[in-house]
Structures are given as structure tokens and as C-alpha cells.
Amino acid sequence: MFLTIWTPTNDPVMSPDTALIQRLLQNDASAFESLYDRHSHLVYSLVVRILQQAAMAEEVVQDVFLQLWRNTAQYDASRGPFVPWLVALARNRALDALRLKSERQRRREDQVEELPSIVAAPQYEREIDEKRRIERVRALMGELNPRQKRAIELAYFEGLSHTEIAAAMEEPLGTVKTWIRDGLMRLKEGLQATA
């Protein structure tokens, strides 16, 4: 799947996603179809990874895309690129569904925004296709200590806090904090180096 993911907002050429969003604002169903085809794979992969259940994942994905269709104006291109916004929206929805599913009382309600906030692409970010991006991120994450990678996955895909991860992994809190921070910094440096 060779798809363009994002063009930095300071690029004088409007990104395909931004152009589709403009059409979506005009109630253009074919623009919605294009956006769905471009990003449903990524969104579904993320959501089903969080929920571990296909039927529920499809419901959440449907909600996410219907929200995009019905509330297109909630995405503001001036506040950041589209895909990270969409991914954050999908993650929030999926973690909410996970919380309801497991009936766990967690502090996420006041920690995760209903709508994603400003997402700023770093200077080194360049337009690349989704396949290359997947390869690059997976390769960099694969270089981490498996326990370190596991801690980051528990945070991102299961919405656990530092304390909860420490308890789940039976590791000291400080170790978990260091793992996560260090792992994300290494990902950042790796993305920067390979940009």
C-alpha cells in the first residue's frame, strides 16, 4: 500500500488529505470514500490491536470515520497534520471502548482528550509513503529492549499509566519511566536520522 501520509503544513502544495478534507466540508461523499481507503487500514490495525476483537474494532472504526464525516470542521489543518490527528482520535475512542469493555476504573477520563489537540510535525519530518513509514517505525522499535518495547506498548495500546505498567511488569516505577522515556527518545532520534 503506497500511500502518501502527510505533507507538512508549511508546504505550499496542499496535501492530498487536506484537499480531501476541503471536499469533505462540501459534503462530498466520494472524498470521504477516498479518505477511508487511504487510512482505514492504519486506523483499523490500531483499533483492533487495542481492542483485540474484530467486531468491536469495526464499530469503533465506523464511529471514528462517521465522526470525521459529520464533524469534519473539528479537524483544523492549521493545527497539525491529518493522520496523527486521526490516529489520536481512533486511539482515544478505542481506549474508551476498552475501558468500558473491561469496566476498569482508570484515570484516563480526565487525561485523554475527546478530540486530539495540536500535533506538530518536527522539522525533520518528510513526506513518505505508509509502507516506508511502517518499516522505519517498526525497525526502530525492534531495536529496543523487548521489555522496554513492551512497556511502551502497554502505555500506547492499553492505556496504562506508569504506575500500572510497573505493577503489570513487576518492575520498579523509576525503571518503567526511564524505559518509556528512553525508548521514545530513541524512536525520535531514529526517525530524525532516517528522515
Binding site: Y36, H41, R70, Q111, A120, P122, L191
Partner: protein, 257 residues
């Protein structure tokens, strides 16, 4: 910058949602100061965290999901009013809310108007009661005062009971009666004051209609102050609203003094 430095290590954790409440609150308090550097860095941290989505194992949604979504979106595109939200970003429920608020405001205005009317009516009722009380007090004062002059009005042609007028020089006159035959139709009984002055015409006074039991009490607030100026009192049956001069022969007559 030193103040910012202490938060630098928290941005990724915040974007990931792993911070404890204390760290989160401290960072949010700092962000609330509109620190542009930290806002930018947090934005970049969010972008970095969003890259983690790419490590999720590849999965594809079913074609059924795509079909369902497209069917719904096309239907809503043709009939936007069926969609839950408007494309302008202002949800339809908000418009409905605005309309509801308008109706509530309208209802409130109407209700306030109605309440005002009710209050006005209540005030009117209170005023009526007050007036009735004032009348009752005045009648009582007239009837109870030993200085009041009592005038017996005898029925003419033995028609009906005897009536009595109590006349107080200051408070006025009370005419009361029981078992009085009710005039037919809308006709009324009218009181006349017959002056002492030679050739003086009867002075018309108030009209009344007894209740179904033939009872009545009538207060005449402003009769001539000096009873001596009045030779007699008479009651005739008159058309509704009374007359300026008697149109029938008196049914009751009483000499004053």
C-alpha cells in the same frame, strides 16, 4: 527557560497518557501560561507518539464495514438533515438546542406575562377583599353607632317585608332587607331620596337586586350629609341600570325623622 526545562521530560509521557496526576497537573498548569516553546514541543511529542500506531500488526477491516459506511455517508450526503451533525461543525443538535432555548425563552416570557397577570389578578382579588372589608367595617360602624338615624321603609300595598335604613351623618347609609321578592327579569330596585324642599324632585340613589334568598345589604356612601334635608326615602322597581326619575309607583316608603 529554567521553568520550562523541568517539564521537557514530561511531554512524551503526557502525550502517551502515562503521567501520574501530580505531574500531569503541574504540566497542564504550565501549559496554561501559553508557553509557546512548550506547546510546540508537546505538539511534536504528540506527533512522535502517533507514530506508534505503525507498530500495530497489519489488519484490514471487512468490506462489509466499508459498504455500511459508504451507504450511510451517501444517504447523509443526499439528506444532510438526517446526519447527526452539520458540515459546518455546528452540530444539528446545537441548532435544535438553540431552537429549544428560543421556545423556552418564549414560554418563559409568556409564563412571566401570565404570572404577572396572575399577580395582578391576585392583587385585584386582595383589593376586592380589602374593599369588601372596608365596606363591612363601614356598614358595621353605621349600624353600631347609636347616633345613627333609623328609618323604617314600609311596603306599599302590603307588598313584601318591612325594610330599614340606618343613616349616619358621617359614614353614610345602610339599606338592608330580607325575604324581598326579586324583581322580574333584569329589573332592579332603586332607592330615592325625597327632599324637604317644596317641589323638590326625588334624588336617585343606588340600585340593587336581592340574592336568590331575597337578602341584600346596600351601603350608600355619600347621601346628603344632613338627614334633615330629606323628607322621605322610597324604593321603586326600575329598568336595569336605574332611572333618573321614578318610572313606577314606590314599593317601599319611609319618613325620615
Amino acid at each position: 527557560m529554567k521553568n520550562c526545562d523541568q517539564f521537557r521530560e514530561l511531554f512524551e509521557g503526557y502525550a502517551l497518557g502515562v503521567l501520574d496526576a501530580e505531574e500531569r497537573t503541574a504540566l497542564e498548569a504550565h501549559l496554561a501560561t501559553d508557553c509557546s516553546d512548550c506547546t510546540r514541543l508537546l505538539g511534536e511529542a504528540r506527533w512522535l507518539v502517533s507514530q506508534l500506531a505503525y507498530i500495530a500488526p497489519d489488519s484490514r477491516p471487512s468490506e462489509m464495514l466499508r459498504g455500511r459506511l459508504m451507504q450511510r455517508v451517501r444517504a447523509e450526503a443526499q439528506n444532510p438533515r438526517f446526519a447527526g451533525q452539520s458540515k459546518t461543525g455546528v452540530p444539528y443538535w446545537m441548532w435544535i438546542g438553540v431552537a429549544t432555548l428560543f421556545l423556552v425563552a418564549l414560554y418563559s416570557a409568556w409564563d412571566a406575562h401570565r404570572s404577572k397577570q396572575e399577580v395582578r389578578a391576585a392583587h385585584g382579588q386582595i383589593a376586592d377583599v380589602d374593599a369588601q372589608l372596608a365596606v363591612a367595617r363601614r356598614e358595621n360602624a353605621i349600624l353600631a353607632d347609636p347616633t345613627s338615624l333609623r328609618v323604617a321603609l314600609s311596603p306599599q300595598n302590603s307588598f313584601g317585608p318591612q325594610l330599614e335604613v340606618t343613616w349616619h351623618s358621617q359614614y353614610g347609609m345602610v339599606l338592608a332587607g330580607q325575604n324581598v321578592p326579586v324583581p322580574t327579569g333584569n329589573r332592579v330596585l332603586q332607592l330615592w331620596l325625597i327632599p324637604n324642599a317644596p317641589g323638590g324632585k326625588p334624588i336617585p340613589s343606588l340600585t340593587l337586586r336581592p340574592n336568590a334568598n331575597g337578602e341584600f345589604v346596600l351601603l350608600i356612601s355619600h347621601p346628603p350629609k344632613v338627614a334633615a334635608e330629606t323628607k322621605a326615602l322610597a324604593i321603586t322597581e326600575e329598568p336595569p341600570g336605574g332611572s333618573t326619575q321614578p318610572t313606577t309607583t314606590p314599593r317601599w316608603v319611609g319618613r325620615v325623622g
